[in-house]
Symmetry: D2
Subunit: 345 residues, 4 copies
Amino acid sequence: MIIIMEPSAVEEEIQKVVGRMENLGFRTILNRGDVMTVIAAIGDKRLIDPATIAAMEGVREIQLIQEPFKLASRESKKDDTIIDLGRGVKIGGDHPPVVMAGPCSVEDNKEGLLKVAHAIKETGAQVLRGGAFKPRTSPYDFQGLEETGLKYLKEASDQTGLLIITEVMDSQDVGLVCKYADIVQIGARNMQNFKLLKAVGQCNKPVMLKRGAAATIREFLLAAEHIMYAGNPNVILCERGVKGIDAKYTRNTLDLSVVPIVKKYSHLPIMVDPSHGTGRRYLIEPMSKAAIAAGTHGLMIEVHHEPDKAYSDGGQSLDIPMFQSVMKELNSIVDLLVKKEKAVK
Amino acid sequence: MIIIMEPSAVEEEIQKVVGRMENLGFRTILNRGDVMTVIAAIGDKRLIDPATIAAMEGVREIQLIQEPFKLASRESKKDDTIIDLGRGVKIGGDHPPVVMAGPCSVEDNKEGLLKVAHAIKETGAQVLRGGAFKPRTSPYDFQGLEETGLKYLKEASDQTGLLIITEVMDSQDVGLVCKYADIVQIGARNMQNFKLLKAVGQCNKPVMLKRGAAATIREFLLAAEHIMYAGNPNVILCERGVKGIDAKYTRNTLDLSVVPIVKKYSHLPIMVDPSHGTGRRYLIEPMSKAAIAAGTHGLMIEVHHEPDKAYSDGGQSLDIPMFQSVMKELNSIVDLLVKKEKAVK
Amino acid sequence: MIIIMEPSAVEEEIQKVVGRMENLGFRTILNRGDVMTVIAAIGDKRLIDPATIAAMEGVREIQLIQEPFKLASRESKKDDTIIDLGRGVKIGGDHPPVVMAGPCSVEDNKEGLLKVAHAIKETGAQVLRGGAFKPRTSPYDFQGLEETGLKYLKEASDQTGLLIITEVMDSQDVGLVCKYADIVQIGARNMQNFKLLKAVGQCNKPVMLKRGAAATIREFLLAAEHIMYAGNPNVILCERGVKGIDAKYTRNTLDLSVVPIVKKYSHLPIMVDPSHGTGRRYLIEPMSKAAIAAGTHGLMIEVHHEPDKAYSDGGQSLDIPMFQSVMKELNSIVDLLVKKEKAVK
Amino acid sequence: MIIIMEPSAVEEEIQKVVGRMENLGFRTILNRGDVMTVIAAIGDKRLIDPATIAAMEGVREIQLIQEPFKLASRESKKDDTIIDLGRGVKIGGDHPPVVMAGPCSVEDNKEGLLKVAHAIKETGAQVLRGGAFKPRTSPYDFQGLEETGLKYLKEASDQTGLLIITEVMDSQDVGLVCKYADIVQIGARNMQNFKLLKAVGQCNKPVMLKRGAAATIREFLLAAEHIMYAGNPNVILCERGVKGIDAKYTRNTLDLSVVPIVKKYSHLPIMVDPSHGTGRRYLIEPMSKAAIAAGTHGLMIEVHHEPDKAYSDGGQSLDIPMFQSVMKELNSIVDLLVKKEKAVK
């Protein structure tokens, strides 16, 4: 921790900070510049809330050197985490990107869901997505079929062999969702719902954690740390777009640089959701290709049997023929880029 | 709802959209321009998810005319909502700003809390704040005393006559928190935790809802709508700073224009938290004054008996003498600005 | 400068950085932590571009301690800069806020401008604003009357005794604008037009510099530094709203915390433009009051004799009776807050 | 143009708006809803500033239907603009991405520049970049060699056959820069320096326009419109990162979705600068690959012969061997993705 004192700080204030840090078990080094004094404090930051030091008289600013995420950091685990999702599907490391696809919401029309499930299975997708609990900005929008929806997903999985990913929105529902899902999803709006993070940290299913719409990378990795700290090491990170400068041509700004950044600073798998990340159907194919080129471990794509009748997010859903065409493109890129690279290694 | 068709849209696509809207009970008017056709659809937007229309072939873009919040809107209720918080304290309308103050977290040192409570009571503050459940970015930071903290708050309230506001983070804890709190707080990170909004919408205590750090005003008012729709009309909105351009000199950008905007478009009380909203102690006084001049219905200010030993957010907390001095300033402004205005009316 | 090495940095890399810094005249102190090494380098940062050190092998990150603005900083000049604008009007320090008002653009109708000028003079405003060169997002919008506009302003000034502020957009026009203006304005879009900053830095008129719509405070003060470094110490800073989360209810987010922040870190006057800062007419009065309560040194307010016929920005302009009513409010607040404070001192 | 009236608007106000629009040559259609009235006005928006209509009594909001950029829009020109940069190099349409590379600034060491130029030529890059006029946030940073720098670039071009791209910062320098450059660059900070846009719009060299750090896509295309409107149809757009949520792990957020968006709404070539767009050397390769997969028409990459001695932006520059290795990767992707596609067509 670097503690920068005000130019006006007096010796007594400097010594008080030094004394406080040493009492807390830090080793300190004083750097006296012409204008201001800087105190380097070496020790375990996690013992202390930096804001309380920042509150001491004469302190201008605190700068942290080591990030407070530990379990999620590359420093704590050099090898990539590879998560076995079931039925032989693995995500992370050098494994080719896992494709998760399906409708935004599970809807009353079960046949539609089954139709989508069979179609995506044929294209090579491995996981079926579909929301049974739906976070909706307005209370007047469709809120999800809840357990009925989970049962429909299960039936689709039984028929096709696809794994299931579905969102949980409340700590009280974690048990129920885990009963049906192969992967439990935490939505962007709940990225800092810490009670929910703790609850899924205590379940035995892999967790897919979406980045909040205004979350920094540090906040994103610390949210993963909450889950891991509660006992669950199997966290998959997912970029889904951040609130950006332009709100007219896209719903969000898909921040693909997160893929190589997370790979450098963490060992966890990182995937991309181009459907929410752009909010526009025609952007899904180019941004999926770009995500693969950037090194993503997975893709989540919305597909609906009749997008213009979808209960939610129809405008960013592909229909089945579009999805087939996108997958053909993506499979050929994966062959060229990802599998080739693996072969070379 | 305004439906803008692509310049390339063909007649069949236009008619399909018109037919769909009319089936949904909307009245439509076609405006054919030189370049593109625009369909105005008049009816109850809440019957339909606009994204599904946006997904139809030939549609470029949907523009909503009426906001989807209804219960929270000024149109549905012309008079200001004035909420009776208990012990004669009212918030909203022309009532002078209610001051809520206290430490960020309730800590082990109960005596410190009592000291703060007595001190703020003397200055004229009406509500004691203090977190018993703490949302913390890192799992290694102090997470709150939970029920013990609530008991400490109750004791402080019994001794001083102050009302209590405290945060609830999970739907499972709503019952417990309501037992102790006079006002239940929803934190910024949970502004779109819809299950929690529903749960507090079913309790009988006023709810103070903080604006999410990247929430638009529409999302903010829709979050209030969730609570009201679940049955609780007593919602107090609170601006606490949004993620801004500058992350060095402030923690957040305090968006004071929200005060007059909310007053225009909603009947609910709107208050301001300059402590989280700026993250810097020296900014609390000027921004509190500014909030009052902008017409705020309340202020939430962090005060700690020893800010440099606080478990959380010490850097933005006032100590007791500072708070007394700020309150002296604020009381005199309230006399000048708010009470004068009221007298004139 | 604090240089943080990668955990994987080897001794040779560390020594190479130390050697480089010492060659550049810095004194270095090595802090070896358990995980990583930190090098504190004490000396004049302005001798070196930190990015080149950041580029050395083994370096993770550079953190600057002292801000690179020097002439603009409070450290270099303890007393407030008070600028004499002419005709006895002073801005800065404890002087009551200077009000600058007038139409967005100077238009063909000279009589309208004169009408506005006389009206604002009567309310107590001291400076007439009006754009003769207009930065317009679209080339199809009105671009300004150029020298003719400047002449109209001069005539209005001669008739009323008001000072003139007007914008210059290009280095080639600085001489012309300075001939007519009492204060030269740099618009938000040109805040980092460094050639223009240099050109106004060489003229002998006070410069009002608007904050860019996405400028950090550091970038804002460094833009002022460019002007001062070129020779002109009379810079007035102006907050005019930043691009924010919400683009529907406001045009920009007016960041009033900049007022007390600039007052702490710089000696330059800081003022506020609530017209551009909100983009909504009904927000001008409450946000002007809030700006005064936050300590602003001045206000810039758009007034048009017929806002609904204005060539630009009519939606955020007041008409004359509205402006008179706002000024009555503001004058009474200034009496209460600002002059009282001054009396106490 | 869609004009939405306030629910409280009276008939007289509605008729006044209708009358005004019809006088301006618009055809109007009135849509009276239960809550509010909406006026659709069909005609040439460019005749009128919407803000003046927004300023009329009873008007709540204006929504534009047709974007005000015309020359830059796909609607005005269906075929891709392909620009002949000279020496047989073409950018746009189905042409493989053009690579522009070189140091951030042209520096005193001419030999370094020549070394870079020969090296990049060998890898297949077609254009040499290098700043002779440098926009620098601080006045204490290196400001560029000006004409001497241009001469060095010319010499490098003569030796290698590379084309030259270099930035112009001020309208007064356009003539000089055009004498040496094959492509004139407008930097992000000058994207809305309208006098400069006009000046380069009157020169006969292709212009590369960088997106401002907080520019919407509409503002970006309107800036191109300024250049085209002044007479120069050869505009190349360049995404270089926008100010984002995370300022710690990246310098900017590279918004790759702009590539397919611009391709849909405009006919102009669109390229990507991953060096400024990320600010981190290790992100250049993955983000360059991603840009190609997203369909970019070009890449601008910073290369320096000794990045750790660069005068500017060393931390995001590749050295020569790194650049060679990145180009090997990129060339193979281009072969796989772009040329294959072209072959299929």
